[in-house]
Symmetry: C5
Subunit: 254 residues, 5 copies
């Protein structure tokens, strides 16, 4: 479970609530028609922009990405080194047995392809195609969140313009100007909150997670490649270590 998302969003909303309550009642920040035009309108134009399927897929990607337990990249390197040793001693086919202890679907697929006897080059090219399209799906998910973060303030501005025009047309009682403008500004406020506290940062988290996942997959492709071509284990380890920061590298060789 992604702790930083939950803590971050709770902190941001908590501080905002605190700032509101410290200056007056919360009720003046709640206005149903304003909420409808910003939230509903944003959902509406999002469906003009993206087909239903893509939006549902994005929600799915978001859910999976946030719940996703990131594996340790060092454990993955250790596991790949172990497979390399096994393959060197007992042959590639011995990896068949090793597949049961593997959690990662992508690694399972790579192992299956290796056991099936694909050439290193075929394996690399097919796995890279897979990586490319996974990345495209992730990027579409992040793009939908970014689009929402762009439309929400726009709908907020449309709402504020509606409020301003109505207020200016009926400016007979000066005492009503203030509250009317306050209400007109609420849609801008809702749009800013949706964009900056929820959807922009969430799109960022999706991208960050996707990058870690892609790094892990690239590491697997590199490692399987080394295993299939029977590369020297020390060279293979050096190659895999190049993917991570020097201080994280733990050699299995003394």
């Amino acid at each position: 479970m992604d702790l930083s998302t939950i803590i971050g969003i709770t902190a941001a909303f908590g501080l905002m609530l605190m700032a509101i309550l410290q200056g007056g009642p919360l009720s003046i920040f709640i206005n149903t028609p304003s909420l409808l035009i910003v939230v509903g309108g944003t959902i509406g134009v999002t469906f003009v922009h993206y087909p239903f399927g893509d939006v549902l897929e994005a929600i799915n990607v978001a859910k999976k990405t946030i719940l996703y337990k990131e594996g340790s990249i060092n454990d993955m390197i250790a596991q790949l080194m172990e497979f390399a040793n096994k393959a060197r001693k007992e042959g590639i086919l011995a990896l068949q047995g090793a597949m049961d202890e593997v959690d990662d679907d992508f690694l399972t697929k790579a192992l299956q392809m290796a056991v099936d006897g694909h050439e290193p080059e075929t394996l690399r090219s097919m796995l890279n195609t897979e990586i490319e399209y996974v990345q495209q799906r992730h990027e579409k998910g992040a793009a939908i969140f970014l689009a929402i973060a762009m439309y929400a303030p726009a709908m907020g501005m449309v709402g504020t313009l509606i409020g301003l025009v109505q207020m200016l047309q009926t400016m007979d009682d000066p005492a009503k100007i203030g509250p009317a403008m306050a209400v007109a500004l609420l849609t801008t406020f809702y749009g800013a909150v949706m964009a900056n506290i929820i959807f922009n940062p969430m799109a960022g988290k999706l991208k960050t997670r996707s990058q870690s996942e892609m790094l892990m997959k690239a590491l697997i492709v590199e490692g399987m490649q080394s295993i299939l071509s029977g590369e020297n284990p020390r060279v293979m380890e050096q190659k895999l270590h190049a993917f991570i920061a020097p201080k994280l590298r733990q050699s299995t060789f003394k």
Copy 2:
């Protein structure tokens, strides 16, 4: 027919109308000269930016894209696998007969080229050129919609500046200031609505649809390539499955 566009645009306009009516009559939001300068002016500068032919072509692309019934990518994979089997058993020329049951123009063309005896490399390179230029035309369509979404708020600002200058020059009766400013703001409102509820999301839909279409075409090129080079059906299926999300993959092999 593209349902999400229609539902989305109806919802967004409906909520906006509701917000307007809830605060006063609709009539104060309708002003013919303001409409003329924003809508007409935007059309004008769009024609300065793009030749007539391109704008008409964009409308065409938009119409076709929205009416376009997206085929199932799984059906396409199944069909390509079927062709592969047929070609393996009866030879490439047997695909001539299969062309009649094909709806997709691009697939028909690819089959025709295969039957005509082109080399796999020629087929790939000619189909890729075709994909590249289809994509350029789609991108131009989306670019025109984005340009309109950029010019509409700009014309709205020009209209509001005209209104403000006139109001400030004749500020003798304070009672008229409010309504005059309300009218001046209407052009900004029109521009924001045109950009954010209609043209920006529509440009997005064009891009999304174009991407799906390009994915389908890339799949066809990959599949035909496999068929022509007589690749193992299991490998071919794995290659095609790499284009789609794992959970959508339905193998024809048990």
Copy 3:
């Protein structure tokens, strides 16, 4: 002559004029010092940004691009097919005679190179270098127009700030505030008009025209390449047709 530019710019200015006149006299929108600071200042910073030669070249490119009569891409394909037939029957040297009926300078150059006996690869590489640098010159032209479209509103803002500071410093007579602010806003108005009605769309037209010209040149390179390598005419036609939309393709083969 580029009709859509003229009609578009006339329509946009016409509607703007109409909106102005409908609300008051045109005279309040004309202020010589404001015009000087926006138009003159924009010209000044444009010369800080670009050398004299580049700006003159951009005006030239613009003139040529707008007056440019776009040739039919289908006619070009037909002409190239004709040359291919001639070359097949009478040899490459027979194209020498055909050069007289050619309008396009780029095609003439390509034919000259073919007749001179250059290898297909040399021809492609030299013509591609030429295309690359033509494109660079076109892009610079469009970039200068875009720069002007960026500086004009900036100078407008500088002018408005000057007006506002002067107005705020001498706010003794409230009756003068309105007109003073109206005048201050005029520079912003001039900047917005220059950017959004003239220079941004014109930069767009330059880019669009340049793209059509580049497509035509790419087609010529592809066609000459086919002719020199004595490719099958049907294949050559298919290759050239890949550059254009399916519905525009007119085969010379039945």
Copy 4:
């Protein structure tokens, strides 16, 4: 230690303080709830955007980058030339002894690989992978600083909107309007200061430092490549000099 960062940030804050004190007491610029919503809210959404680990890593990268003592690129060239001479005279293995006098971790690694007998091509490809991923980590560090510089003004705007809505709703005493708006503007002020004086320029410094480091690493790869392939020292020096400005080049040859 990075002097220009410290002097720059001190100067900017000093001048700002001076401008504040010259116009009134500092106290009116300090407001705890406003600080909390901008600083705390920005931290919150940063954690929604990036996982804890990445933010800590970014702080680390920033610390290391600012404390980083940039080596002289000319000294590095001299050292590489010296190694080249040694390797030519005494063989590659002689570089083993030279490794002790080397500070740079990356150069040590490159020497170790050379001594281990890797091929020039393997060495280049493994070191380039390492460079690529170091660069990715640096870029992520700079990206986090840029994200903070984007969220701080956004949270400032959210805070100002809250203040404005509250002020407009309770506009009974005109005397309070001014101070209330002043407080509302403080969050915008905090956001602007955080973004423009601290996080945007710091992100820039991270990028600049990263580029110098990458240049140094690219130089090392090029030099080691020359050493391993036993290239002529004059040619090697010319190759390395191409990395730096002509006036910095000091040839070791007369």
Copy 5:
């Protein structure tokens, strides 16, 4: 000496001065604390963003670029053709004597390498590395000017926010509001002038000059390549002419 920069900047400042004087005394636009916070603050954050060395280097690049007398590209082509003839008749070594009449440092270096007996491919690759890093240094120079053009308005906004907060807190005498706001706006004005009249256009000029210089260098590499490989002079001239606009081409062949 770069005339267009001087004329442009004089014209822009002259028109601005004229607009100011026409509306009141110049003195109301001069405020020392405001100048200090914008100019000094911008310098400060620039040093947070870039190390001292880079900023000094940028000033150097700017000075050199503005003083740089652009050579005629046609003269360069003529010179290269002359060298080609000399090399064909008397051998590559004859170019040694020709080096004395050459002004361009890059051409001198290329000739030296040719005379030293480098292979065409080595020459191209070493000169291209040199071009790449010269370009990087130029781009950094332009990037620093662009950064200043970004920070100046930001510091202007910070200054204006300080002024606004102070004015709103002490709004007891309505007569002072106007002048106080005028002073607050001055920092915004200074920022806009620095960005739009000085640093943005200057960054543009640096880029434009750099592009011309790179084009010249690319031409030299192409020409030396042709000379070393003993290419036919007509073909060589055609290759070099591809770099420039058709109407500028002056053939040395009749």
